[in-house]
Symmetry: C2
Subunit: 330 residues, 2 copies
C-alpha cells in the first residue's frame, strides 16, 4: 500500500476539513466489537448520530436527519417527505426520485455507521488505498408511487455478493400504513479512484464491513438476474441521438451521476408509454463511466409491457448502461 | 364567472380526490378573521398542520413536515437537510437546489395557510376561475452555499406588488448559527389556466390573500430591478444550440419547471467559470412558457464577474428567459 505524500496528502486534509465543515461528522462507539453509533443496537428515537445539540431553544439538529439504526444496528432506517419538485407530470414521485432517496439512505447508512472516511461511501481502509464503491447493477420494483407530501420510510442493509462484491437491499414503506411500496437490490464492487480499475476487496476492508452484513434478501435471487440483451440499430425500435450531459448532471467526481441515466433512457421511450404507463420495475446494468464531454444515444425496444434499453456513446457506440423495464397501465 | 360543467367538473373532482389521497389536506381555523392553521399565531413546535397523528408508536406524521407559522402566522418557516444528490461537483448545494427548496417552502406556505385549493398554490377563489399563479421574476442572492447534511431554515412571506402582482420573499439561514446565507425575492401574477392570458387579481382572490400580507422587504427594492438586456448573436459571446427539454424536466402542467431553466442557462457559461467561480446572485425574468417539443438556445455574455443570459426557442428565436448573474472566485 502506498502512503499519500505531498500534494495528495494536502488534498486529503482539505477534503477531510470540508467534510467536517459540512457537519457530517459522527460520533462512534464500539459495542461487542462492532462499531455502532451510540444507539446500543435498539430502536432509538429518530436520530442518526449521538451528537445531541439543542440550538437556540429550537428543535435539536439531529432531529432533522430522520435516520437511525434498527434491528441490532444491522438495518438503517430513514424517513423522507416527498417534495413538490420530486414528482413528475403525473404528480407522483419519479423513478429518479426513488433512486435518489435510495442513494441518500445508503450514504447516510455508511456515515452513521462510523465507517465513512470521505463522506461518499468509502470506508477508512478504502480511502487509504484510494478505493471507491461503484454500483454495477440495480433493480427497483415499485408497487405504488408516492405523492407530494407523503412520508416514506426506507430500510437498507448490506451483505456479501460473491467473493468481491457487496449487495445492498432496500425496502420502502408508506410511513402511515407500513405497507411495502418499493423493493430494491443492488450490487457493488470496488474500484481504484485514479486508475479506474476494479479491485478485489482488501482483507482490511472486508473486516470493516462484514460486521454490518445481514443475510436477508429483499427479493428472490433469481428474480431479474438474467442478462439484459444488448440492443443495436436493428433490434431497437426507437433511437434518440445527440443527448448531451449538462454541467448539472455531474457528481462530485465530475462523472455523470448514476441516477441521471434514467432520464436519458426514458428519452427513447414512446411518449404515449410515458404518459399512460407507470414503471413497475427497472433494472440498470452499469458498464462504463461517462463524463460531460460525451454525446449519448438512447435506444429502446418495447415488447408488450416490457422494454429493453441501451445508453451508449454516440461516437464509438461504447455501451454505458443496459436497462430493462416493466410497465403497467396507469 | 363561469361555473365548470360536465367533463371539467369531473376533472376537478378527480384532482381534488388526488390531493386528498396524497395526504395534502390541511385543517383550517379562523382567528381574528384570519385563516390560520391552528397554531394560534405563536411559535409552535415544528408542525405545519393541525393534524396530529401518532402512527404505530413512531414519530407523528406531522413531525416530518418540519414547517410551521411564526410571527403571528405572517411568516412560514420550514427546515431542510441538504441531501447528497442536491449538491454539485464542488460538494455544495446548487442554485437549482436552492430554488427547488424556495418553491417547496412557498407551496407548503399556501397549503398550510388553508388557502390552497388544487395543491399547487392556487387559492379556492382562483381555482373557481381557473386562475393560477405564475412567477415573472426571481432574484436569489447567495452569501454562502450549504453542504450535504447541513440543516437550513427558510422563512417566506408575501406582500402586494403593485395593483395586480404579489411579491414573495425568502430568507435562508444556517440552522445552527442562524446566520443569513441567502436572500430571495420574486414577483407573481395571475394567469388563466386555459387561455394562458394574464388576469387582474379578482376582488375575491385579493380578499383571500391580503390577510397574509407582510410589508417587509428582504432586500432594497431598487436592488437589481433594472431591466436585463436582451442578448443576440452579436452581443453574446457563447451560444449553445440544440438544448432539448427531457420528459423529466416537465412539471404537473406539462410545462418546463421554472427551476430547470437554470441548467440550460449554465450550458453556455464557459466551463472555467463554472469550475472556478460561485454564483453569488442570479436574476431570472420569465417571458414565455416552454413545452417539451421546443428546442432551445442558450446565450451568454460575460463581463468581468457579471454575466447576462438569454434562453430562447431555436426555431423562431422567441425569448423564454432573460437572466443576469454575478460570480465570485471560489
Amino acid at each position: 500500500m502506498r502512503r499519500p505524500t505531498g500534494d495528495l496528502r494536502r488534498k486529503r486534509e482539505v477534503r477531510s476539513l470540508c467534510v467536517k465543515a459540512c457537519g457530517a461528522n459522527v460520533s462512534v462507539d464500539r459495542i461487542n466489537g462492532r462499531k455502532v453509533n451510540g444507539i446500543n443496537g435498539q430502536e432509538a428515537p429518530y436520530l442518526g448520530t449521538k451528537i445531541v445539540e439543542q440550538v437556540n431553544g429550537d428543535v435539536p439538529m439531529h432531529a432533522f436527519k430522520l435516520g437511525r439504526f434498527v434491528e441490532e444496528s444491522l438495518v438503517y432506517r430513514q424517513t423522507f417527505v416527498i417534495r413538490s419538485y420530486e414528482i413528475g407530470p403525473d404528480k407522483t414521485a419519479t423513478m429518479e426520485t426513488l433512486m435518489n432517496l435510495l442513494q441518500e439512505t445508503a450514504l447516510n447508512h455508511v456515515m452513521t455507521s462510523g465507517l465513512a472516511s470521505d463522506g461518499f461511501g468509502a470506508t477508512h481502509e478504502m480511502s487509504l488505498r484510494k478505493l471507491i464503491w461503484v454500483v454495477t447493477r440495480i433493480n427497483v420494483q415499485v408497487e405504488r408511487y408516492s405523492c407530494w407530501g407523503d412520508v416514506i420510510e426506507i430500510d437498507t442493509w448490506v451483505a456479501a455478493a460473491g467473493k468481491n462484491g457487496m449487495r445492498r437491499d432496500w425496502i420502502i414503506r408508506d410511513y402511515s400504513t407500513k405497507q411495502i411500496i418499493t423493493k430494491a437490490t443492488s450490487t457493488w464492487v470496488i474500484m481504484h479512484r485514479e486508475t479506474r480499475r476494479l479491485s478485489k476487496i482488501p482483507e482490511q476492508v472486508r473486516k470493516e464491513v462484514t460486521p454490518f452484513y445481514l443475510d436477508r434478501e429483499v427479493m428472490a435471487a433469481d428474480n431479474d438476474t438474467n442478462k439484459i440483451d444488448k440492443l443495436n440499430e436493428e433490434t431497437a425500435e426507437n433511437i434518440r441521438s445527440g443527448l448531451a450531459p449538462r454541467w448539472s448532471d455531474m457528481d462530485v467526481n465530475q462523472h455523470v451521476n448514476n441516477v441521471k441515466y434514467i432520464g436519458w433512457i426514458l428519452e427513447s421511450v414512446p411518449i404515449n408509454v410515458l404518459e399512460d404507463y407507470n414503471l413497475t420495475s427497472m433494472t440498470l446494468e452499469y458498464r462504463r463511466e461517462c463524463r460531460q464531454s460525451h454525446l449519448l444515444e438512447s435506444l429502446t425496444s418495447m415488447k408488450n409491457l416490457g422494454s429493453t434499453h441501451l445508453l451508449r456513446m454516440q461516437e464509438n457506440k461504447a455501451e454505458i448502461v443496459r436497462a430493462r423495464a416493466e410497465w403497467r397501465s396507469k
